[in-house]
Amino acid sequence: MDPMTPRKRLATVWLAGCSGCHMSFLDLDEWLIELADLAEIVYSPIASDTKTFPEGVDICLVEGGVANTDNLALIQRVRANSRVLVSFGDCAITANIPGMRNMLHGADPVLRRAYLELADGSGQRPHAPGIVPELLDRVLPVHEVVPVDLYLPGCPPSAHRIRTALEPLLRGDWPELSGPELIRFG
């Protein structure tokens, strides 16, 4: 790496998703070592202990849809502090599996269904204001909440796909993603 080029400040964020996209990220295996030369991971559930999303992030990968008040606050902070925001995986792009609760139309029917109707006898609605974040009425794809710069579909996106997107970004170029290898959902 050219010592003159500053390392990019890279973040990854985990909203309403299964963390599979992050697992796929870990599948980058030895390229992760190269990555460490190219980027400084400034915020990530799998590679950083920082609790507050920092300022001045160059690239942020966002996994998951926006499902609750915490997600909402975080994504807004992410957007305000990231130059390139990447919707990372189908949940971020389509709401995907978390979004299936949207078919019940509203947070209340979802909670009722999950905690009362499907409970075996002693069901009870969770209620812990200030501790457990409130569900939004719908799980939203990230781009329905804040502007998104790049989309990386897949459930999860393969390691190859992630690398194809990240490499040019880290160089300061823009990746051209097309074809079944790179943008197929699922």
Binding site: S87, D90, N96, I97, M103, P153, R184, G186
Partner: protein, 238 residues
């Protein structure tokens, strides 16, 4: 047999008069995206993916039913058409509940392939998350309305090829859905011969074999063409 010559995307094509623009384009190796059309079934020109620009016509024309004409100049992939096709696919994705990751047809789905083909990496239109149902009443097959794109291939194959007319389209507009019998559970409809042709022609995971799980549905619409050909011409391709 009389022959028509025309130009498609700056390529000269000669084809039997009476052919459609879609056939002519395929003959010339030019791929036009399609969804509702299926060789062997009557065309309905409903999905609007195969719309093309024809010089001299203000209107966009569906390649699947527009007959070739001598000297026609056809453009199949202008930026305007590409934008339209992407929007059509976005409209389809947002209209249903297409969760590829957990679909029987994942990896073998025409809708999923079309999204790639038109470069849809996300939908610019909001998802609607309609409340739709799954019919598992049939002993062999299932119907998941969440994944249905209303191409009506199943309706047509059951009517035109099998002759049972189990399926039809019920209701109207955004409430349209495929119905069996008097809008009954599929398994309760005596007219069904269990032939499975509807499952075979379904472009998505809406119709599937029971027991298939994610990524396990492999349809082969080509089998229908062979069947129809055999019926009409008494020629088999064993």
């Amino acid at each position: 047999m009389s022959v028509c010559t025309l130009r498609i995307d700056e390529r000269d094509v000669a084809i039997e008069a009476g052919s459609t623009l879609l056939q002519a384009a395929r003959e010339a190796g030019i791929a036009i995206p399609t969804l509702c059309v299926l060789e062997g079934l009557s065309p309905v020109a409903a999905c609007r993916l195969c719309l093309v620009e024809v010089s001299g016509s203000e209107k966009l024309l569906p390649a699947c039913i527009t007959p070739v004409q001598e000297g026609m100049q056809v453009h199949t992939a202008t930026p305007r058409l590409q934008e339209i096709r992407r929007t059509v696919i976005e409209l389809l994705f947002t209209e249903g509940n297409h969760v590829c990751a957990i679909c029987v047809a994942n990896g073998h789905c025409e809708l999923q392939d079309l999204a790639v083909e038109v470069g849809m990496d996300h939908s610019r239109l909001p998802y609607r998350f309609p409340d739709r149902h799954v019919d598992l009443s049939h002993p062999l097959f299932g119907l998941d309305h969440n994944r249905c794109v209303l191409c009506t291939r199943c309706v047509r194959v059951c009517d035109e090829v099998e002759g049972a007319h189990v399926w039809d389209v019920g209701w109207r507009g955004e409430h349209c859905r495929i119905i069996a019998g008097l809008d009954e559970p599929w398994g309760a409809v005596d007219a069904c011969t269990h032939c499975g042709k509807c499952v075979e022609v379904c472009p998505t995971g809406a119709l599937f074999h029971k027991g298939d799980t994610s990524e396990e549905k492999h349809s082969d619409p080509g089998r229908l063409q062979a069947l129809v050909h055999a019926r009409h011409h008494r020629q088999w391709t064993p």
